[in-house]
Symmetry: C2
């Protein structure tokens, strides 16, 4: 699934030049010439603006679009699953069983969703770069740059009231100010069953052909009423036939296409194997937790799905890197760029940074897990508040406060047994990373084994109580500094090491930023403006053709049908993850079995694009992205167009399912209007 | 489950002194005084010899006993599972469905089982040590020692016809020659369903209370007829009541109780985390393979169970090491030993060896997996055959040839899709360990990604054909040297690195052997002869009391009952792994529900003890070991008697099940007679 793996975010962002239908293009720098020449399509400013304003970003790591004038938002089930999970209880499993609000009163408010609608982009490169003087050390440069960025953001927020983010593009070659309208009252309207949305489970994930109704509908509210939406997508249920040109408007999370060969080797030999070890560890852990019983299985389900998804994605990415041809080819191409740049100095800097990153892996000043994350956030937030906004760690700047508090004070349920289970493993992992004799480990464990220590911490903390968290934050640093809550004490204990490592990482990031900016300049000079920046979880336009492909000597058709889902179920003996919901069996005779269900196109996407609308030349919705096939998993490093494909749910299947399977004709009637 | 995790064998073996009912005692040095004083039990030579000769070792990693005069052997279902798996096909899943041979003709011959019955022990310490001169380097010493051991073994085999193994005890303090009668015609008589044997699955594994019929019965044959067995165990279905003294006669695989604090830190911070990463990786891999369909699930099942079991065991072991008290206590105790030894030199040597082991982890000259293992064995075996037996790598000595060939030429099925899946992962892992730019990795991948390379290797190799393997071996090194089979070529390519690493490891092992021999001497001097050696997968006697224990404020009774299995099923909603087989449901009313089912005792056991008979003071069988509880998982490093317990199936339950559930009264009548 192409949701962003938010826990493994980028540490740098880079750029690449486009061939064929490759590219994740900025809305203020669309590839007009290429579209005109290759596809005879002229991008009008109105077309682009309408699509941009109809697109929405989910803070939980995905994309979406407005699909009605009365606030309906269409995204993936697996993007919504975080919210479905938080709205569920032991007696009501929305993620598994689905939901349909029969009227407005029945629409369920998400505890902590934030939706962002991009409304403008402004180039602030000069302002940001002017803050950095040539004489500054990397640490000073990083601080100065961040201070300027925070200042630009604060001023923008004050002037416009909008969420304002300065985005680093081309690895540091450009800085753009993105302004967003925020929606924080988001309510669940409809979700199908997990059996329909994730039909075929982990086995079919990242495979094709597929048969998944991976969609969910929310509605945004303002002032307690459905929001009036000016820009929303009409639908075209007849579109996306073979060879059609289609566009994808969404928020790809991270690509690393300009990485130097040395940086790629670091990814291949250190970072990715390490991440995979972590993912597999947590996947087994969550499987073990789920063995505790049906309620434990439910509590752990969302995390487990996310881990499986990431593990499969990273396995594919690492396989791409381990193919010797790729990095060899990359290295061969570097000499031309180095000639253009007049020096290999940026490459040497990057190479040196990788060596330092390997060293940093032997330290850790933090623990994963929601409850420890809350403790850490409270300690950092109150400490940072003692300084002016511009001097704080970036996520604690004033302009981000509202979003941060929405997460920190979320009423979403936390489960003490699950938190204890995860914290015990995190303490063990902390011990493994630093070694059991490390003085900080000794202090953290406080004479106990990881399990006993975690049990004591979870038993005695008050942080499960949202009101207590609010009190702590409002007490400021003086309150937090003397707080005796054991998790707050633990976060205080780790705080100096966390800060030391964070500072070192930011210094390395700045060195890479400056180096990649030079490499990007060389690329601009060599290849003109036909260059798109690496993905940054901001709105981009991709495009491509609806297109079949060859695999193992067979032609894989560009689309599947609703009837094919029943055939696929039969082919797998109607067992395991290949069991359609009862609602489907009951509606089987009513469904138009030849209606298109899922389809593929060559558009260049990656995690974060989940939920992106797929539109036709007229800007009408024809589908919604939810996955890429296994061949596309190299997308972090390069776009593969021979076999690599983006996978979408066809809008015709959504409409058919609402009508024939889910008795939601009234909802269906609102869509596109 | 307490099967030996044969894939992660010991690299050294050590010794420890006993308190309470701790200890895995040599049959030629039983703790007679302790048994007399603590338990009023006098060990007679006849009692001990009868028990020794009634005990059997499985080469697949477990223990067992003779239970009838006509060759019946009782072991665990999970010890037998390797054979059940090899005897299964797509249409006949013996591991899941169980089996009952209704007459001798229906007994199924295991493809490659070897059973060893220990018949004598002889101290050869002086001979072995005389081979090593003080002036020798560790490498020379290691070679000289191994040559002498191989010579002793060959001479013994020639003189007696028996399997003859020189066993290194007390980490090098003693060398004993063990002679075994071998049984290689071993046939399956009866196995229950996996649902009964492994009731509660991974969740209940290493937990207590338990309800598992973890048993299987084989029969050994000689000259095509059931072997006549002089020493077999009678049974006592009324025994093993609370507070009874019981004995366990079996083959604990490996303990590391004398490890120095520095060696324990190496285990805690490097070796165990690394093994756990590997186990989790392979567990996820086999889960993924099983998603391919029911037949893939069957093909991968035995491996998956083994991986889960090891992962859970190692997790418990590491948790024990991560408790700060343990290593702190160990270090505190070392000064007394160092005073006795008159030097801390052995401790410094061991500390230095650990540092070198960490460096060795960055290299690899081998790949896991059955088909590559066959290629490697053929390359090594034919190369080693060019030298006299005493100078070969130890496993290729003449006296071991028969056992080696039984494994190498086994007709047990190999599945090309499974081997391809595993080999692809091994090539990826090889790339991760050494780094993708390593020249050897580049040669191994031969320009392809791991998946493509594995597919090509598996497609083109002829090693799936047993006859081809035999031809290759008989062609000798000259045939193998010019062989163009791609897996043989790959094993030849890796061979120099394999040998280099092996030599370094043996050098380190020898350094440790000499150092631990000195530490063992110091211990002997301090504590007299009340010292047992660390486990070496050779026959040992343990003992203890059938005893309840306290956990979370509750008393855990020393035994469960057959009726309790139905209650346990109901408590878990009769779902997942908590579903008893149909045979049990059908027999429910006939079963004596109060018959003892599983029970615990304080005996000191570890992996490899699976299948060990538990006997009473009269030497009659009262049960069969199959597991330890979670608190006992520290046993690698120390025996925990407060809560740690060995878990056994009561013999009464076996007899009751044969009679009432499995319609095997005729088989039952043979047992103990």
């Amino acid at each position: 699934m192409y949701k962003m793996t938010a826990t493994f975010m980028l540490h740098t962002c880079v750029c690449f030049s486009a061939v064929a239908d490759e590219g994740m293009w900025l809305f203020n720098a669309l590839p007009e010439e290429h579209l005109k020449q290759q596809h005879g399509f002229e991008v009008s400013p109105e077309w682009a603006e309408h699509l941009m304003l109809s697109s929405v970003r989910f803070n939980s790591g995905g994309s979406a679009s407005f699909i009605s004038s009365n606030g309906l938002v269409l995204t993936n089930h697996h993007v919504a699953s975080d919210t479905l999970y938080k709205l569920s209880t032991a007696d009501r499993n929305l993620a598994n069983d689905g939901y349909l609000a029969t009227d407005l009163q029945a629409e369920l408010k998400a505890p902590d969703l934030e939706l962002n609608q991009l409304v403008s982009i402004e180039d602030v490169t000069d302002t940001v770069n002017q803050a950095v003087k040539a004489t500054m050390t990397p640490a000073e440069a990083s601080k100065a740059r961040q201070a300027t960025m925070a200042k630009i953001e604060s001023e923008s927020k004050a002037a416009t009231g909008m969420r304002s983010d300065v985005v680093t593009l081309y690895g540091g070659g450009r800085y753009h100010l993105y302004r967003y309208k925020k929606y924080t009252d988001v309510r669940l309207v409809w979700a199908p069953e997990a059996q329909a949305a994730f039909f075929g489970g982990d086995a079919d994930n990242f495979e094709y052909p597929r048969y998944c109704l991976d969609v969910t509908i929310f509605r945004v509210y303002e002032d307690g009423k459905p929001a009036q939406i000016e820009h929303f997508l009409e639908v075209n249920p007849d579109g996306a036939v073979h060879d059609d040109l289609v566009f994808v408007s969404g928020n790809p999370g991270r690509t690393q296409r300009i990485l130097t060969a040395d940086a790629l080797e670091y990814q291949r030999d250190y970072r990715m194997p390490r991440i995979l070890n972590l993912l597999r560890r947590k996947e087994i852990l969550m499987q073990q937790y789920a063995l505790g019983g049906p309620e434990q299985a439910r509590r752990g389900q969302d995390a487990l799905f996310g881990l499986q998804n990431s593990r499969k994605a990273y396995t594919g990415m690492l396989a791409g890197l381990q193919n010797p041809e790729f990095i060899d080819g990359k290295r061969a191409g570097e000499s031309q760029l180095q000639n253009q740049a007049g020096s290999d100095q940026p490459w040497r800097v990057i190479s040196d940074v990788q060596r330092q990153r390997i060293e940093l892996q032997k330290r850790s000043g933090s623990l994963r897990g929601r409850i420890y994350g809350i403790a850490e956030d409270i300690v950092l937030l109150t400490a940072e508040d003692q300084q002016p906004s511009e001097q704080r760690l970036r996520e604690f700047r004033d302009s981000n406060r509202q979003s941060l508090e929405q997460a920190l004070f979320s009423p979403a349920p936390l489960y003490d047994d699950l938190e204890r289970f995860e914290l015990a493993d995190e303490l063990a992992r902390f011990c493994e990373i630093r070694g059991g004799s490390d003085p900080l480990v000794v202090k953290v464990l406080d004479g106990q084994g990881p399990r006993e220590r975690a049990a004591a911490l979870i038993q005695d903390t008050q942080l499960f109580d949202v009101e207590y968290r609010k009190q702590l934050v409002s007490s400021g640093w003086s309150g937090v500094e003397s707080c005796q809550d054991p998790l707050i004490k633990l976060a205080r204990l780790l705080n100096p090491e966390y800060r030391a490592l964070r500072a070192m990482q930011e210094e390395l990031d700045e060195q890479e930023r400056q180096a990649y900016a030079k490499i990007a300049d060389a690329k601009f000079q060599l290849e003109g403006e036909s260059v798109y920046p690496d993905a940054t979880f901001t709105l981009r336009l991709a495009f491509g053709l609806v297109k079949s492909y060859q695999q193992d000597g067979q032609t894989i058709p560009s689309n599947t049908t609703l009837g094919g889902a029943f055939d696929h179920q039969a082919a797998h003996g109607k067992q395991g993850e290949w069991v359609l919901p009862d609602t489907w069996e009951q509606a089987k005779d009513k469904i138009n079995s030849s209606a298109p269900y899922n389809f593929v196109c060559t558009a260049d996407i990656i995690g974060g694009n989940s939920g992106s609308p797929v539109v036709d030349r007229q800007g009408r919705m024809v589908g919604i992205i939810f996955d890429g096939n296994i061949q596309s998993l190299t997308a972090d490093f390069y776009h593969e167009e021979q076999q690599g494909r983006a996978v979408a749910v066809h809008i015709a299947a959504v409409l058919e399912a609402l009508d024939k399977i889910y008795d939601a004709d009234e909802l269906k009637q609102q869509i596109g209007k």
